[in-house]
């Protein structure tokens, strides 16, 4: 188990270098000179543009630029954005917000997805099951920005029950609605995964045995059914944390939340390599660590799955 964990952590190193190199190359290859649009409609003078290109090493070749970037990272210098702010500052401001939002979304989809999934699975074919199936289908079919705008307009603007936009007031209470919107897509998947898994396990032999032994229903459901049913659900949730953080672009845009989604969007638009690469690299790492956590969790949920 320990060796397995160490090996998995060591694997992060090549992934880190591979991801940064690839990302840096892609941003480097973005067409258009980033300094061309800095002056709005009125172009900057050639001398000033050159000065700025010099400052950001834009005149250097790809490998020099990438090398300078890597060198900086080992001293925790992630470079400077075009606005002159250290990228580290930008990340320190943006990440906590998005992490908060993503974890809230994850909790919503896990709690509601699993609870509704278990109920639906236990009463397969009943009215609750059918209703939930139809609703989950609809939620999956509607793009998240539509759900977002509707929620914003109805709950925020018309009813005034939740803040219309978050802006700087990004406390937990203000993030509830955006988190629900962000969770809505994956919620339906969690629900359906849980439901089919529970429905399948409910008829398993060991469950029948447990019931025959006279165990109470809550214990049968929570220990004998749920424990076995959760493996695919946890796998999905683990992978989904990364997806939620990346998917926050849309939700953050709608609710004007200043997280990494918005930051990456802006930075890609103006071709700001250090910011894009740094943020996406951290996202990649989060994704990998979440997957590692899932793999380790398996052993806890189901002792039959143990790694040498």
């Amino acid at each position: 188990m320990v060796w397995y964990t160490i090996r998995r952590i060591l694997q992060l190193i090549p992934v880190f270098f591979g991801a940064t190199l690839l990302l840096y190359f892609m941003v480097y290859k973005l067409p258009g000179d980033p300094t061309a649009a800095l002056g709005g409609g009125r172009p900057l003078t050639e001398a000033v543009r050159n000065q700025i290109r010099e400052q950001y090493h834009l005149n250097d070749n790809f490998f020099t630029q990438y090398w300078l970037y890597l060198k900086g990272i080992f001293t925790f210098d992630f470079g400077t954005s075009f606005s002159g702010r250290p990228v580290l500052d930008v990340m320190q401001q943006a990440f906590p917000v998005t992490i908060r939002l993503a974890i809230m979304a994850l909790i919503f989809e896990a709690v509601f997805g699993i609870v509704f999934g278990v109920i639906a699975g236990m009463r397969k074919g009943g009215w609750f099951d059918s209703t939930v199936l139809v609703i989950s289908l609809i939620v999956i079919a509607i793009p998240i920005f539509v759900i977002g705008f509707i929620a914003q307009f109805v709950i925020g603007v018309k009813w005034g029950l939740a803040p219309v936009t978050v802006g700087g007031n990004d406390g937990i209470a203000n993030l509830v609605l955006p988190a629900i919107v962000l969770a809505s897509g994956s919620f339906a998947y969690v629900l359906r995964l849980t439901r089919s898994s529970v429905a399948e396990n409910a008829t398993a032999d060991h469950v029948r045995t447990a019931t025959a032994k006279g165990l109470g229903r809550p214990r049968v459901v929570s220990v004998h059914i749920l424990r076995n049913s959760l493996i695919p659900v946890v796998t999905f949730l683990g992978a989904d944390l990364g997806a939620l953080m990346a998917g926050a672009v849309v939700t953050e845009g709608i609710f004007n939340i200043n997280g990494i989604g918005q930051t990456v969007f802006r930075s890609v638009q103006i071709g700001e390599a250090p910011t894009v690469v740094s943020i996406v690299t951290v996202l990649v790492l989060i994704y990998l660590i979440a997957n590692l956590a899932v793999d380790l969790l398996y052993a806890v949920i189901d002792p039959r799955i143990r790694y040498a």
């Binding site: 258009g32 000179d33 800095l38 172009p43 000065q51 075009f82 005034g160 007031n169």
Partner: protein, 532 residues
């Protein structure tokens, strides 16, 4: 129903009510409710007069610093720090500033604060984005070269604490008009010690001072209590809330979380008048849109080119496009400037070249064909990241249907890619271009774009008669006299059409209940005079 059950239901209902209450309470912010909340966007760089050249930062910087003049809502320059400005030839100026004005760090504003700021802005190693605005001053070429050896412009001299002189390369009435514009404002001594730190925390002499700047979220400014100027703040401060999408801003306006939104998003143009009622404001602003057709393109040189450009101009039904696509948020062009500028005429001879006239368009096109027969396709390039696709397609269609030639709009993904091709003069098609007035002057819409070698002369246009007219306008001693000559210069352009004017922008804005705000010549709210 048992008592236990009832209790449970009551508890759940209670929890729901409480959580709804918590959510609702967080909706309206109470702490900064005294400030007027307006829309803005994160400044591209630190807040420095000589480098801030975009809208998001500009609207804040202009509140924090005051120059020799300020512009009122109609775009007329009004004296601010200037006490006396003497010139006999529009070339040599002696400027005396008022005594007793202070920066918010307590130091008095003196003549050297202007001279230092301008020299700083023009000196290449400082990489200030507004560098080009100092070009008219004598000695600019020396400090603005790639590796300058001198740091100060020979045309600027401090005479005493309150007087300095400016010598220009050639007469320019426009220089005086521009003296209220951002790069010409003074900077305190502390700015030059660490300009980066200063940009984060600027110290100005304007009607407001910076209270907080929360990056990517908002910037709050509060009135400067010692401000001696006429354009004092009439409110308790302004909170610039940063949005990346106007749709979000519009949702906030509708729910009362925003007091002024200066641009209605395209998605709401059809409905905003119903949504907002008398809280909607429309105002023409100093921004226009053109289709530029460089002379170097095949079939667009010489007399043939002039005929073809006139034909294309008359083949576009501007009125239909502005009504159908822009819901009246654009006004068809009458000349090369914008209708909100002081001195705008709107009835210049040759203006008919900008009106839809299919019969004449075809006749002109055939005349051009007699010189050299048309071949190929007429393409209008545009960037697709700024909402320009629909209208370029419509304009191309209008040309296609009228002239019976192959015409289409072509997309370039981003503004920076389009600009790069235009700057490098490698673009092989017609392209869309727009101009936004930096200060309220018609000459600013003509000189950089159409004078031979102008900084933004994307068309590569060169016409000695036009150049001479602009110089003549610059050397006039009164604004009125200069307007007349500007009109004559524009008649030349209306014939040659180096760029085809399409329309001026109309700003559709909205305010919250009980808020009074006006939109200025530039399309921004008249911030100092917003009340609520």
């Amino acid at each position: 129903m048992t008592a236990v059950r009832l209790k449970k239901i009551a508890a759940i209902a209670g929890a729901l009510v409480i959580s709804a209450g918590v959510l609702a309470a967080c909706g309206g912010s109470s702490s900064d409710s005294d400030l007027v909340r307006v829309n803005g966007s994160e400044p591209e760089t630190g807040l420095i007069t000589t480098t801030t050249n975009e809208n998001g930062g500009g609207r804040i910087v202009d509140r924090l610093f005051t120059g020799l003049y300020y512009y009122d809502a109609d775009g007329n320059p009004k004296p601010a720090m200037v006490d006396k400005l003497d010139t006999t030839d529009n070339k040599n100026y002696t400027i005396t500033i008022k005594k007793g004005w202070k920066f918010t760090d307590g130091t008095e504003v003196k003549a050297h604060n202007f001279v230092d700021a301008w020299n700083f802005g023009a000196y290449t190693p400082n990489a200030q984005k507004q560098q080009s605005f100092f070009a008219p001053i004598a000695g600019y070429d020396e400090v603005s070269s790639e590796n300058p050896t001198v740091k100060t412009m020979s045309g600027l001299k401090v005479v005493d604490d309150y007087t300095f002189t400016v010598a220009l390369k050639q007469p320019a009435i426009d220089f005086k008009l521009g003296l209220g514009f951002t790069p010409f404002k003074p900077l305190p001594d502390v700015a030059f010690k660490d300009i980066k730190a200063f940009g984060e925390n600027p110290v100005g002499n304007g009607p407001y001072k910076l209270q907080t700047w929360q990056h990517n979220v908002k910037a709050d400014i509060v009135p400067n209590p010692d401000y001696p100027g006429e354009n004092k703040a009439q409110n308790k401060g302004i909170s610039f809330v940063f949005y990346t999408s106007l749709d979000t801003g519009y949702a906030d306006l509708q729910s009362g979380n925003l007091d002024v939104l200066d641009t209605i998003p395209t998605s709401a143009l059809r409905t905003y008048k119903q949504d907002l009622g008398d809280r909607a404001i429309d105002k023409a602003t100093a921004q226009n849109q053109t289709i530029t057709i460089p002379e170097r393109l095949a079939h667009f040189g010489g007399q043939e080119g002039v005929l073809r450009r006139q034909a294309i101009s008359m083949a576009i039904d501007r009125k239909q496009i502005t009504t159908n696509i822009f819901q009246g948020s654009r006004n068809p062009s009458k000349d090369f400037t914008a209708s909100s500028l002081p001195g705008f005429d709107g009835n210049l001879p040759g203006e008919s070249n900008l009106e839809y006239n299919p019969t004449k368009a075809v006749a002109l096109w055939n005349q051009a064909n007699a010189i050299a027969p048309w071949s190929g396709k007429f393409v209008i390039s545009t960037n697709y990241d700024g909402g320009h696709k629909e209208w370029t397609d419509a304009a191309a269609n209008s040309i296609k249907n009228t002239l019976k030639i192959d015409a289409e709009g072509a997309g370039i993904p981003t503004f920076s890619q389009l600009r790069q091709q235009i700057n490098d003069k490698t673009i092989q098609t017609a392209f869309r271009a727009g101009w936004q007035g930096d200060y309220p002057s018609m000459l600013e819409f003509l000189e950089p774009i159409f004078v031979t070698g102008g900084g933004s002369n994307d068309a590569g246009y060169s016409n000695p008669t036009f150049d001479a007219k602009v110089r003549e306008a610059e050397s006039q001693t009164s604004a009125e006299a200069s307007y007349k000559v500007v009109g004559e210069a524009q008649q030349i352009l209306l014939n040659d059409l180096p760029a085809i004017p399409m329309w001026d922008y109309v700003n559709n804005a909205g305010v919250n209940t009980g808020v009074k705000a006006a939109i200025t010549w530039s399309g921004l709210p008249d911030y100092e005079n917003i009340t609520k």
